[in-house]
Symmetry: C2
Subunit: 693 residues, 2 copies
Amino acid sequence: MADDVTTILPDSVLGARHEAERRAVAAAVAIPAHVVQAKGHGHAGTAMAMAPLAHVLFQRILRHDPADPTWEGRDRFVLSAGHASLLLYTQLHLTGYDLTLADVAASRQLDARTPGHPELGHTAGVEMSTGPLGQGVASAVGIALAAQRDEALHGAGTGVFDPTVFVLAGDGCLQEGVSGEASSLAGTLGLENLVLIWDDNRITIDGGTDVAFDEDVRARYAAYGWRVLEIEDFRDLAEIERVLTAARERTGQPTLVAVRSTIGWPSQGIGGTPAAHSGGFGDAEVAAVKTALGIAADASLDDLVTPEVLTVTRRALERGARLHAEWRDAYAAWMESADGRVMMRRCSGVAGWHTDGGFAGALAMEAGLAELDAVEAPEEGASVATRATNGKVLQALQQWGGLFGGSADLSGSTSVAVPGAAMSRSNPGGDFVHFGIREHAMAAILSGIALHGLWRPYASTYLAFSDYQRPALRLQALMGLPAIHVYTHDSVAVGEDGPTHQPVEQVAALRTIPGLDVVRPADGAEVLAAWRRILSAPSGPTALVLSRQGLPTLAARSGLDESVAHGGYVARQHGSGADVALIATGSEVQLALAAARVLADEGVEARVVSMPCVEWFSEAPVEYRDAVLPPTLRARVAVEAGRGDAWWRWVGIDGRVVSIDEFGESGAGDQVMARRGMTTDAVLAAAREVLAR
Amino acid sequence: MADDVTTILPDSVLGARHEAERRAVAAAVAIPAHVVQAKGHGHAGTAMAMAPLAHVLFQRILRHDPADPTWEGRDRFVLSAGHASLLLYTQLHLTGYDLTLADVAASRQLDARTPGHPELGHTAGVEMSTGPLGQGVASAVGIALAAQRDEALHGAGTGVFDPTVFVLAGDGCLQEGVSGEASSLAGTLGLENLVLIWDDNRITIDGGTDVAFDEDVRARYAAYGWRVLEIEDFRDLAEIERVLTAARERTGQPTLVAVRSTIGWPSQGIGGTPAAHSGGFGDAEVAAVKTALGIAADASLDDLVTPEVLTVTRRALERGARLHAEWRDAYAAWMESADGRVMMRRCSGVAGWHTDGGFAGALAMEAGLAELDAVEAPEEGASVATRATNGKVLQALQQWGGLFGGSADLSGSTSVAVPGAAMSRSNPGGDFVHFGIREHAMAAILSGIALHGLWRPYASTYLAFSDYQRPALRLQALMGLPAIHVYTHDSVAVGEDGPTHQPVEQVAALRTIPGLDVVRPADGAEVLAAWRRILSAPSGPTALVLSRQGLPTLAARSGLDESVAHGGYVARQHGSGADVALIATGSEVQLALAAARVLADEGVEARVVSMPCVEWFSEAPVEYRDAVLPPTLRARVAVEAGRGDAWWRWVGIDGRVVSIDEFGESGAGDQVMARRGMTTDAVLAAAREVLAR
């Protein structure tokens, strides 16, 4: 630190290598304060205090190449404290990503590349969408988990597949249960490539953290099996570098880096108080901040980012190019190695997979579809639970290797058990993951695996417990990540375990999440057809809703793959089928079929529409939809063993919805189904009622 | 332990005071094994291993009176590991609650008083519904929190209001994030009346806990600020009594009691393995268990519960009567004390509140309604956010004292800040709670406060984060607990914070939960009217969905209280209103009103229906509904700034739904609303379209 020039200012950036670097960091501190004050809204406090750390991370620690944000070999940085988006945007601009100072200034405006919280796909260099607290931590665990497995399977020791995942979190993230769940699993699995930086600023919106959070976070993370490091002075670049360098060492444990900081530093008036969390500091205070940093009090945004500053910060481009070139050499060597050759052979036909360093995440699914062809649907009439057929699919796809996932302690009863050994600290290349009884973290970790890009992730639990996952599901849908959620035990037919385990509203509630496809197949053949679409067109997450109980396998239907891919189809038609449509999903299709047969005997020309996926049907061409549900139909009935409100869309005010709109009860599954009105008679009665109108 | 007779069996109950007690405990171990084997399904393993502990708890530790399960002064026992319901049912039967052996044998049958998981209201002595893991722990924190406040406010040191809350949890409960959130808060608040018993059996369904959960739980709880005690031998009644006696001492900290156990003990073949979690052990193994316990291998259920056993266990009735009588004396003394007299005066007119020891939980709301009368609605035309009017209501009701709650670190921006000081370790009688950034635990804790019975609990967060709370909301709705959830920032009008903070699907998703009333008022007057119904008819939980942005206060409407209580009403009618109904909620009512005015100028007779609560409207008499939405209406349009699927029920296939069915984006709130189609023009266009048909 011979070159330490910071003593010229009493409370400023410490440990800079030269005055130009100090000025660069000072600019990074001042930018968020300036932008938020200019706009009148936004979050400056954390972005200011963490600016020295972010500078060190982006200049000296992170393996990244601003010229190629999708470089497969890069380290990852996840800003779990997403409100501090200006921290990230500032670094992205300064280090040379495709983001202008005008973009940073336009933060939070409509159509800006700098939305209020970071959003995947909107800004080069943003690794995931964050904002809902705790989610970034949990998904970072997923990225690290996938990377650790990738390295173990494909090139341990080669330096090709060993990114370090850094995640920055505030107290809010660490109070959320989902981060605790994921951190506990990270400790169990020994994710040594994960570094969680905790901005320990002792402030939350409602006051000091001690009003609600006086636990010993360091001790808690040690209890999870983490290594705990400390940055005593958040302003000291040298200390930050020393600790972060230690943090990325592989020690068999994930690492928590606790940074004692002062939110809104170096503001004297507002720094260290809850007021620093959001909103402008006021012109006078922002001027004082600039002065404290050795910047002219009236400096504009352009004044802050001088050519001198950019000269310092854009060195990240050279550094990135060098790191990228070194990695490319290592990658080429790996390609020539025995491991690499085996892998290339194995993956021939799988486009985009470790073949050109592009790591596009667009894993082609042909090989998976070929494995799927080997799975036979149950024979007509055979009573087979859809979870069972789904289990066969997962086992077949395990051969393929393009899927990776596990269960929240229900691998047996959700039928997702596959051969092989679980991932563990001593077996990082394991075949599946025991996520533990942590449904929420599991869903968030799936996002991380999908973001890593090598595998289509899947996970399983009971449908009733999808409730635990909703914040992670929502973020996953927002990011358009192609995760697959296997939800079994899909209705009150679960039976004896009672209402807490019997889903009633979950299917309807999942359908409300934009971008999440909810698929509830009627039999094994529909399960297979659904997987074909899921593998072929991975547009976002899918919820696969499956029965615990056996369901009769329907008669063979020609063109079923296309029918299911369109979300709904005529499963059976009596005569013209023009009198009444009985629309059903999953286990209720059999009720509709039975009711239609009775109606046919009475001369009523009924059609049964199986609609495994309302989302897919809604997207189908209108001609297709009108052929399945002709506008000229005399009457319509929908039947589903769950909340029915949204089905009125398909039957109209004059239609009928046979649904379960209250909680279930403990008892034998078939008895509970009957008591809640899920019977052929109920469907018949509804059909007769609408036909009589 | 002079009387210890257990040495006659190599691996049996230890520390019994006499052989008859040993036999009683042996019976309690054998009952679940027998019942599950006889039925072929259910969960025996944990109920067997924890039977000695449950015996000590119910016989020697718990302050309870089996003859009066609702006795206000009782300790609480929450079985968070709800699958072990037979543990609880066995103790309830043996100690003399209103539950027969036949009831226990009928476990999991339809209409049995012994459902698969404990259910509040189904079985005397069951304190809450449990089953979804982690929920019992979190709600127990709520009961303890309420009890601690009650004691601090009403009778510290009198022994009248100082129940101890015991909760039994397995590894699953402790892996769930919600239990961690709640436990951290319990440590911060120093809930010394809370004892969490952890069945540390190192087994989960998918294998040993080490596959996913090798953290140091004891150290984690110490980090939360808990005291950690240990039971080394789960079979030793004397040790259990010693440790649980220590656990209920008041030390300023909540207590974790770790019990190292063997699931399915004393089965040699299945005990200690995941197979002991659920399902029968097989006839031979159950016979071996009985033999190991010194019971005839072919003993029937009646043989297990001998008169000698009942003589031992029914002593709980005498003990309960004695404890109850002592408490009644203390209560009477308190009534005569200065504190008691003040309280009685303050609560005159509030029926059922600490007035007869009945503690019915049916707190009459007259006094609250009187405070509500003092709150004035904003003036017509004034632009006031519904969150602001709601804040005034909460401040008024704070005077009354019948509400108690807080916020998940958003008390300011959700406008729930009330005067006074926060609850803390040093201020247990505080006026509100800082729940921390723990939305899920907050909702579960609300259930605990409601179960305690003294206050109507409320809590606040942003609507988007209601996703975090769904498992707790569902259980709360299932139990019918009258909690009030204040959700602000209720649409994409949130603006700059972007899609992660902009609710789109939340209102629709909340409406799917049976028994949860979702209320989205259009202006301050509707807020007041909604509170009148919420206070008057507390049938279950309510979600109060409020705007961040100002909304124009509508013209005065006569009979608004009744209109809102019916869920929907005609807010404005042009002419006969028979041409078209524009149905809207919350911030979209103004759009419907504006559109109706334009239509009126064109000679169209439109009515605007404000429908703040679809659930209430659905329950209204059909005559009322038909008056608001006559079947003869020519056309109908619904408008709501969120997922619209369920609105088709009210407009029909020929209607139109103006909704937001995709995620929002970052930008000024009004701009995002416009871009997502929430404009008067869009409503007009929809109305013209349906009228043209």
